[in-house]
C-alpha cells in the first residue's frame, strides 16, 4: 500500500521538478536569480498564518475544478468547460442570494428592489449551495448530452459553451442585476443570510481577516465523496468502466451514453461548487471575470493529481501555493512577474501529458519503469 502510494507520487514529483527546472532557466534568461524567485514563490506562501491561510483560500476553487476534470477523465472525457460551468453556477448562486436574501440597501440607505423574500440563513445557504451544484451540473450535462446523442466531441462543445456561458451571465449582470451606475461589471450584493463563515470566525487561532472559509472544508468533503462515488458505488464503477474501455463496458450491459451524460453532469456540479467559495464565502456577489482561469488550472490539477481525489487535493495545494507566492514574486523580485506561475503551470501540464518522455529514452535512467496504470 505504502509502496504503491510512493510509486504514484514519483511521477508527479518528477514532472514538477522538471517544470521548476525549465522555469528556473527562463527566470535566469530574464535576469533574476531562480533560487531567490523560488524562495519568494514558495517561502512567502508557506508562512503562518497569512501565507497558509491564503494558500488554502486559493487552493479551494482548484480542488473543486480539479475534481471536476478528474471525474470526467475517469469516464474518458476531457471537460475543458469547467470555466463555463463555474461561471453559470456562480451567477445562479448569486441570483439566489439576491432574490431570497432580503432587500438590499445601497450606500445611502435606500432600498434597492432586487429581493423577493428573506429566507433565514439555515435555509438560504443550503439552497444557494444546491443551486451552485445543480446549475453547474445542468451546464455540464449539455456537452455530455451532445456527445451521447450526436457524437459531438466534448472538447469542442465545452469550448463553445464556455464563451456562451460568459456572454450570458455578463448579459444578465449588465442589464438586470448591476446596481445602476456601478462602473464595475458585478451584481448587487447577496443577502447577508447567504454568507458562509470564514474559518477564522469559529476556529480559535486563525485570524478572521483570512478569506479561507467553510468552503475549504466542503472541498475536503467533496474529495471524500468523489472517492466514495468512484470506487465504492455502482455509478462510479460504471463511469470508470466506460472510461477504461467503452466497448467492453457496453458489452457488459452498461449504457455508456448514460454514463457520459452522468459523468459530465457530476463534473459540472463539482465545477459549480467554486461558487460556494467565491460567491458565498468571499465576494458575496457575482463579479464578471472573477475566475482566474480556475477551470483551466483544474486540468493541470487533475493531471498532476493522477485523477485521484487525494492527488487532486495535493496538487491544488501546490497550485494554491504558487498563486499566493506569485503575488510576492510580483512585488519583490526585480524582473520576474507573477506570470511565472502560469508558465510553470503550463510546463507542468506539458510534462505530465508527455508521460512517455520519462518512460521512453529517459526510462533507461530508471525514473519510471512501471507500465501505465
Amino acid at each position: 500500500m505504502l509502496m504503491k502510494l510512493l510509486r504514484e507520487l514519483v511521477f508527479p514529483l518528477v514532472a514538477v521538478a522538471f517544470a521548476f527546472l525549465v522555469g528556473g532557466v527562463i527566470v535566469l534568461l530574464i535576469g533574476d536569480n531562480p533560487l531567490e524567485v523560488y524562495g519568494l514563490l514558495l517561502g512567502s506562501a508557506l508562512t503562518w498564518p497569512d501565507g497558509i491561510g491564503y494558500t488554502l483560500f486559493y487552493a479551494t476553487p482548484l480542488i473543486f475544478t480539479g475534481l471536476a476534470v478528474a471525474v470526467a477523465f475517469r469516464c474518458g472525457l476531457l471537460n475543458i468547460g469547467a470555466e463555463g460551468q463555474l461561471y453559470v453556477a456562480a451567477f445562479a448562486t448569486a441570483w439566489v442570494g439576491i432574490k431570497f436574501g432580503g432587500t438590499v440597501v445601497d450606500v445611502f440607505g435606500e432600498p434597492v428592489g432586487y429581493g423577493w423574500a428573506t429566507l433565514p440563513a439555515f435555509l438560504l445557504v443550503p439552497l444557494a449551495i444546491l443551486t451552485a451544484v445543480l446549475v453547474g451540473a445542468a451546464w455540464g450535462a449539455i456537452p455530455g448530452w451532445l456527445k451521447a446523442r450526436f457524437g459531438a466531441h466534448e472538447v469542442i462543445t465545452t469550448i463553445m459553451l464556455n464563451f456562451i456561458a460568459v456572454a450570458l451571465v455578463s448579459y444578465f449582470t449588465q442589464y438586470f442585476y448591476k446596481k445602476p451606475g456601478d462602473p464595475i461589471m458585478q451584481t448587487v450584493e447577496i443577502g447577508a443570510g447567504a454568507y458562509i463563515p470564514r474559518l477564522g470566525d469559529f476556529i480559535p487561532g486563525i485570524p478572521a481577516r483570512l478569506p479561507v472559509s467553510v468552503a475549504f472544508l466542503i472541498a475536503i468533503a467533496a474529495c471524500v465523496l468523489v472517492y466514495l462515488l468512484l470506487w465504492r458505488t455502482k455509478w462510479g464503477y460504471e463511469i470508470r468502466a466506460t472510461g477504461a474501455n467503452p466497448s467492453a463496458a457496453e458489452y457488459g450491459g452498461i449504457s455508456t451514453r448514460k454514463q457520459i451524460v452522468l459523468a459530465m453532469a457530476i463534473s459540472g456540479g463539482l465545477a459549480g461548487m467554486v461558487a460556494i467559495s467565491e460567491v458565498l464565502g468571499y465576494r458575496h456577489r457575482y463579479y464578471d471575470g472573477f475566475s482566474a482561469n480556475y477551470g483551466f488550472t483544474g486540468i493541470a490539477v487533475a493531471l498532476l493529481g493522477r485523477n485521484h481525489p487525494v492527488g487532486v487535493f495535493l496538487a491544488a495545494l501546490l497550485f494554491g501555493t504558487l498563486i499566493r507566492g506569485g503575488i510576492f514574486v510580483d512585488a519583490f523580485s526585480e524582473h520576474v512577474t507573477k506570470d511565472l506561475v502560469e508558465v510553470l503551470q503550463a510546463i507542468v501540464i506539458l510534462f505530465v501529458a508527455a508521460e512517455a518522455l520519462f518512460r521512453g529514452p529517459f526510462g533507461r535512467f530508471g525514473l519510471l519503469k512501471r507500465s501505465k496504470v
Partner: protein
C-alpha cells in the same frame, strides 16, 4: 438600425475575418494530418507578441512579421513533439500551450518593457495594414485548396489524417507529415497573430487574441475542414464581429441591443453544426489519435 449595412461594414468584415482565416487555415493543415490543434489561440498569441516586440526593437514590421511566423512555428513544434514523439493527449498539450502563451509574453514584457503584459506603442508607419489580408484571401486559400487536393503532399496529408496505418504501409512517414503540418499551422497562426498586433492595432496587449483562436477553430469545424468553406465561415464570423462592433450604442426601438448575443453567434452556430442540424461535420478519422507504428 439598417443604415449600418454599408460598404464600411463589408471592409470591416474582411479585416476582422483575416486573423481568423489565417489561424483556421493553419488549423486545417494540422487537423487534416490528424493532430487536434486547440493551441491556435496560443500560437496566435506567440505570433502577435513576437511580431510586436521585434517590430519595436528592429523598427521594421517585416522583420516583426517574420519573427512572428517563426515564433508561431517554434511553439507549434513544441506541441508537435509532445503529441507526435511522446504521444501526449493533443487536447491537453494544446491547453498547456494556450496557458503558456498567456504567461510567457506577460513575463517577457514585464521584464523588458516594465509593463503588465503589453509592448510599447509602435509608430503608424511601422504597421502592415493590408498585406496579410491579401495573403490570406488571395494567396493562401487557393494555394491550400490546390495543395490539399492536387498535390502528392496534400494526398499524403489527408491520408495520414484519415488512415495513418495505410499511409505508413504505402511508404509515407506519418511523423514527418504530422510535424510538417503542425509547424505550418503554427506559422500561419503566427501571421494571424502578427496581423492583430502590428496590423489591426499598434501594440501587443495581454491576451489580445481574446478567443479568436477558438473562433478560428470553430470556423474550421463549421467549414467542415475544407479550405473554401472555412473561408466562408471565417467571413461569416468576421461579419458577426463587425456587426457587434457597429451595434455598440445603437438603439433599436429605444432599447440598447445587447452585443453579448451577437458575440456568441459563432459559438452557437458551431454547436448547431456539431449536433448535425446543418449537414454533417465529419472530422478526419484519425484526428486526435497518436500513431504508433506496429512492431
Amino acid at each position: 438600425m439598417f443604415e449600418i449595412f454599408n460598404l464600411a461594414l463589408l471592409f470591416s468584415t474582411i479585416r476582422l475575418a483575416t486573423p481568423l482565416l489565417l489561424a483556421a487555415l493553419g488549423g486545417l493543415y494540422s487537423e487534416r494530418s490528424g493532430v487536434i490543434n486547440i493551441a491556435l489561440e496560443g500560437l496566435m498569441l506567440a505570433g502577435a507578441f513576437t511580431a510586436a516586440a521585434v517590430t519595436h526593437w528592429a523598427g521594421n514590421p517585416w522583420a516583426g512579421l517574420l519573427a512572428g511566423v517563426a515564433a508561431g512555428a517554434l511553439v507549434a513544434a513544441v506541441h508537435a513533439v509532445a503529441c507526435i514523439r511522446f504521444r501526449a493527449d493533443q487536447v491537453v498539450t494544446g491547453t498547456a500551450i494556450n496557458i503558456l502563451m498567456t504567461g510567457i509574453p506577460a513575463l517577457v514584457s514585464g521584464a523588458f518593457f516594465l509593463s503588465s503584459g503589453s509592448t510599447p506603442q509602435i509608430p503608424r508607419e511601422n504597421l502592415i495594414p493590408w498585406t496579410p489580408i491579401v495573403l490570406a484571401f488571395v494567396v493562401l486559400v487557393p494555394l491550400t485548396y490546390y495543395v490539399l487536393y492536387y498535390t502528392p503532399f496534400g494526398l499524403r496529408l489527408r491520408a495520414v489524417g484519415e488512415n495513418p496505418a495505410a499511409a505508413d504501409a504505402a511508404g509515407v512517414s506519418v511523423p514527418r507529415m504530422r510535424y510538417t503540418a503542425v509547424i505550418i499551422s503554427g506559422a500561419l497562426a503566427g501571421i494571424g497573430g502578427a496581423y492583430l498586433s502590428i496590423g489591426q492595432s499598434s501594440l501587443f496587449t495581454r491576451n489580445m487574441t481574446s478567443g479568436r483562436g477558438f473562433i478560428a477553430l470553430a470556423a474550421l469545424i463549421f467549414g467542415k475542414w475544407r479550405p473554401v468553406q472555412t473561408m466562408l465561415a471565417c467571413l461569416l464570423f468576421g461579419f458577426t464581429e463587425a456587426i457587434a462592433i457597429q451595434l455598440q450604442g445603437v438603439r433599436f426601438g429605444g432599447e440598447e441591443i445587447p452585443n453579448q448575443f451577437v458575440h456568441i453567434i459563432p459559438y452557437v452556430l458551431t454547436l448547431v453544426v456539431l449536433a448535425g442540424f446543418i449537414g454533417q461535420a465529419r472530422a478526419p478519422r484519425a484526428l486526435g489519435i497518436p500513431y504508433q507504428k506496429e512492431r
